[in-house]
Amino acid sequence: MADSTQQMEQQPTTLQRFKASHFWHSFRIDRVAQLSFIVFLIYALLAIFASVIAPFDPYDASQIDIMNSEIPPSWEEGGEEGFLLGTDAQGRDMLSTILYGTRVSLMIGLCAVALQALLGIVIGLTAGYIGGRVDSLLMRIADIQLSFSTLMVAIIVLAVFQATFGTELYQQLAMIMLILVIGIAEWPQYARTIRASVLAEKKKEYVDAARVMGFGRLRIMFRHILPNTLSPILVISTVQIANAIISEASLSFLGLGMPVSQPSLGSLISSGFEYIFSGAWWITVIPGVVLVVLVLVMNLLGDWMRDVLNPKLYKG
């Protein structure tokens, strides 16, 4: 029987399947993707183990000595062995502060994108699958949301919050506020992309088959259609994480983000900005480079993933 050709072969494991996939193959031949992935992995590890790797704890005021302020990196003249990348204006070790700052930036980026994805997926899926008036209403809301720039919304919300509840409360809640604001401001990106793929998917026969089987709407939406729209979700996620990190850095730079006591990369750049002309360039430049590399790597990974997962560019 023609059906039994594969009968004798051993069932491949998930790992073997992954190794044989187009995804893995194109990763193996793409140096840029490999490099980007390795760099991103290093960032992730450094961020996760920041408290172990960092020589000092920048959040612990007792470890900070104001007399150590503005020491240049160790390879510069006047540098000290103990402070590899120098110290900032408050005498904090730059290396430790950057490690902790990366953690804060990545954390905000990932959580904000998770929130965006959650809102965007639920709204996009509902709009696309149910259609009609629900679709029009949700998509008009998305259009309105998109017509405000993220930064504008964020600045207004954060400034109003700071003015109303005071700086002290704000500093305690800064991280949550940033995640909420960036998350809520950017959901239409997801909603639109997902709605478009749902419109294409729901016409396929497997959706009819699922309806014929008597499955409910929610089950068809989340279990049958959603997994089929995962590749665009993956692609925008990488780009959105990079965007969220930049948004957070911009807000912190403007003084509306993370407080100086718990600096993110953005607030570090901002805090060194006043000293840049007095010769203490490292306080701004080093976190700046760290941020640029992180965002660049995310964007490169996103680009690569878009090429791989786009069947129109698939060359076999």
Binding site: D3, S4, E205, Y206, P227
Partner: protein, 334 residues
């Protein structure tokens, strides 16, 4: 009481240019375990009929008149919850293209277990056992392995077997098969049809086979409906219709079979095309293409006339039986 009873069903599609009737006055019954064929050209309303039975017409289609009774209950009057418990569970459907009807990102096992658990309270391992049994019933080689495979890893014939296995998973009373073999190559077609026939006989499942393959219909079904432009024009035992078609359209279909052509000559065909549903001629909708067209055909819709065990909607057949039928009616009145 018949298992399924369709009464004067009319399906409308509300389009911008006005409502289009895809089905008109369709009535038939289906007994438990009976195999019914539905044949007709593309666009005759065969698939719409299939979907309207389980009340799953997609917008803008809706049932505008008539009803579908399943075990005496009008399906249109049921709450969505009750209707869902019938779909897949009591009445299941098999589609044309097995490439498309399986979800590409879920394994066969996951899809089968999900179907079982959607309608029955059973554990995953029990569900897997039933799924495996069904896969073996549809003669899939190394069935255990298939549960962990994705649809794209299987051949077309194997996928259609799996679709059939899913259709049978919950021991339905009726399977509606919408051109189940059209997308397969001819050798696999025969295997799949044999398989479906056997499974339906073994499990006493009623089958509604929608197809335009008269060969398949004559092999598999006991009764058949011939549809034209949204109406049933002839129905009765398959053997009688195949051997002695009454309606000129059915005769045309039979003549169009390659077996009926004289070697070396062109194949026979019915001249013209089916009218668009927006623009169906008055009287008998087949009249512009009919060789035997009479005056009355363009004016009056032909009623169903009993001819042997068949019901035929044709003035010509009605005329030839005019005398005896009138007498019969009169005798009933007395």
């Amino acid at each position: 009481m018949p298992l399924l009873e369709v009464n004067n069903l009319e399906v409308c599609f509300g389009l911008r240019s006005g409502a289009v009737k895809a089905l008109r006055d369709v009535s038939f019954t289906l007994e438990r375990g009976e195999r019914l064929g539905v044949v007709g050209e593309s666009g005759a309303g065969k698939s719409v009929l299939g979907f309207s039975i389980i009340n799953l017409l997609s917008r803008p289609g809706h049932i505008s008149a008539g009803n579908v009774n399943f075990e005496g209950k009008d399906l249109a009057s049921l709450a969505p919850e009750e209707l869902r418990s019938i779909r897949g569970n009591r009445i299941s459907m098999i589609f044309q293209d097995p490439m498309m009807t399986l979800n590409p990102v879920l394994t066969i096992g996951v899809q089968m277990v999900e179907c079982l658990q959607a309608h029955r309270q059973i554990s995953t391992s029990d569900a897997k056992r039933i799924a495996l049994k069904r896969l073996q019933q549809v003669q899939i080689p190394s069935a255990e392995k298939r549960l962990d495979q994705y649809p794209h890893e299987l051949s077309g014939g194997m996928r259609q077997r799996i679709v059939i296995a899913i259709g049978l998973l919950l021991d339905p009373d009726i399977i509606i098969a919408d051109e189940p073999t059209t997308a397969l190559d001819v050798t696999i077609q025969a295997e799949i049809m044999d398989l479906m026939l056997n499974l339906c006989e073994q499990n006493n499942v009623a089958l509604i086979l929608i197809t335009h393959d008269l060969g398949v219909v004559s092999q598999v079904t006991q009764r058949m409906l011939v549809m034209y432009a949204g109406r049933i024009i002839e129905q009765g035992p398959t053997k009688e219709i195949i051997n002695d078609a009454q309606h000129p359209y059915t005769q045309g279909l039979m003549n169009a079979l390659p077996q009926m052509a004289i070697p070396g000559q062109k194949l026979n065909q019915i001249k013209g095309t089916m009218p668009p549903l927006q623009n169906i001629p008055t009287g008998c909708s087949f009249n512009p293409r009919c060789e035997y067209v009479m005056d009355i055909c363009t004016k009056k819709l032909p009623p169903f006339t009993q001819s042997g065990n068949c019901l035929v909607a044709c003035h010509m057949v009605a005329d030839s039986q005019h005398g005896p039928q009138q007498e019969k009616l009169r005798s009933e009145e007395v």
